[in-house]
């Protein structure tokens, strides 16, 4: 009996271990139920939903079916992804706000300056946490390279290297182009350059997303000790705190600037009327908020897993 390709296709949504355990049986079930005809849309959606849930479950992000260390690792990676959201939003925020002191009256500087300082300090602390986490996982990474070989590792990191190269070259290209064009007499940027800027921005965002996905894929392959996993969990919780500071700082800067120098969001001409809520700031705020929610879910899961596992250990110790 031939396997219907459409039936087998649904399996790609499930993790490898699940496919190994239930894959053949599941395909036969689909064959028995739908024959050689197409699988209805509702059934396909249920396969996508269930497969995604199984992936999240096997990664320790939902449920309690994997060991506490895998759950902490999955939750820490969620926080790392949230950091990725903030890196993108923060880079745009830094570029967008680079000339704010010129637009804000001297007397009203202190609050936005303090908020901006807090954002910059927190961004530094977040980068430090990422570096420390990277250093902690280095021995496990070397172990992985030794056991799996360079070829396997290269297959994993190739998409990341390619996307970073493309994004880097495109960024350099647009900077050179911008320098070449120079300031226009009317003070406006040519449309083609603006469109290219958007494309480069999308390339950079895609490259960051690929970096995040690669990091997650590698992190799940690392053989981390329980101690390192616990430390990574604590670092992830600290990172969540950093993200809260960045979000609060951004919000404070936005409100202070909207109150004291709203023209910064418009024509930059003092006292000119402009909206205190430009689209860029709304999008940045939403992006940071999404990151904060993801980090919150990760942190709650780390805290829940740690307290549950500590309770279990205490009970075992005194039994």
């Amino acid at each position: 009996m031939g396997r219907n390709v459409e039936h087998s296709d649904g399996l790609k949504w499930y993790p490898r271990a699940w496919r190994g355990r239930y894959g053949d049986d599941f395909v036969m079930y689909l064959h028995d139920r739908y024959g050689d005809g197409p699988v209805p849309l509702a059934a396909r959606l249920s396969v996508i939903r269930s497969g995604t849930a199984e992936r999240l479950r096997s990664g320790g992000i939902i449920g309690r079916s994997v060991d506490p260390d895998t759950r902490i690792r999955g939750a820490s990676l969620l926080v790392l992804c949230a950091w990725g959201f903030f890196v993108i939003a923060g880079s745009v925020f830094a570029k967008y706000t680079e000339h704010w002191p010129l637009a804000t009256p001297q007397g009203d500087h202190w609050l936005p300056a303090a908020a901006m300082g807090a954002v910059q300090w927190a961004a530094g602390a977040g980068s430090f946490i990422v570096v420390v986490a990277g250093v902690l996982t280095l021995p496990a990474l070397f172990g992985l390279i030794r056991s799996d070989g360079w070829k396997t590792m290269w297959a994993l990191v190739r998409p990341m290297v390619l996307s970073l190269t493309v994004a880097g070259m495109a960024s350099i290209g647009i900077v050179v182009w911008n320098e070449h064009v120079g300031p226009s007499p009317s003070g406006t940027t040519p449309l083609a350059l603006r469109a290219a800027g958007v494309v480069v921005g999308l390339l950079v965002v895609s490259a960051l997303a690929v970096c995040c996905a690669t990091t997650v894929a590698i992190a799940y392959r690392l053989r981390l000790t329980r101690r390192v996993t616990r430390i990574l969990g604590r670092l992830a919780m600290a990172m969540a705190g950093v993200l809260v500071v960045i979000f609060a700082g951004t919000l404070t800067w936005w409100i202070a600037t909207a109150l004291h120098a709203p023209w910064f969001f418009g024509s930059l001409v003092p006292r000119s009327p402009s909206s205190p809520a430009p689209l860029v700031m709304i999008l940045l705020g939403l992006m940071m908020l999404s990151g904060l929610v993801v980090a919150g879910v990760g942190t709650a899961r780390i805290a829940g897993t740690r307290s549950h596992s500590d309770r279990t250990q205490t009970m075992t110790r005194y039994r």
Partner: protein, 112 residues
């Protein structure tokens, strides 16, 4: 108010794990036979994702187990732990049914 559940999380009469355990109480069945039986006795059409998601959870908790494949289809059967779990769920549901039946009788008496 907190939901009262058994340890396997069998809550409602149409919960996939409960339906699967009830179906398997009759004897081992593979996926398609399970889905057909459940549709017959409960009138519930489980989607492929829901059915296999519930099978995986039940097997993980040791409430059902897989038997050797027959014609590339894997039958499942209830374990002793699954039987105990189903029994506890049935007791809970019977309590609700008993209270509901008693109160309904009183209500119909008042309305008559």
């Amino acid at each position: 108010m907190a939901k009262k559940t058994t340890t396997a999380g069998l809550r409602r009469a149409n919960d996939p794990p409960l339906l699967i355990l009830t179906s398997l109480a009759e004897g081992p069945k593979h996926g398609y036979a399970l889905a057909q039986d459940i549709a017959e006795f409960a009138g519930v059409q489980l989607s492929p994702g829901a059915l296999y998601g519930a099978i995986a959870r039940l097997e993980e908790r040791g409430l059902i187990e897989a038997l050797p494949e027959v014609d590339r289809r894997r039958p499942y059967q209830v374990t002793a732990a699954g039987s105990a779990e189903l029994s506890a769920a049935m007791r809970e549901m019977r309590r609700v049914v008993d209270v509901g039946t008693h109160r309904l009788g009183l209500l119909q008496g008042r309305l008559a």
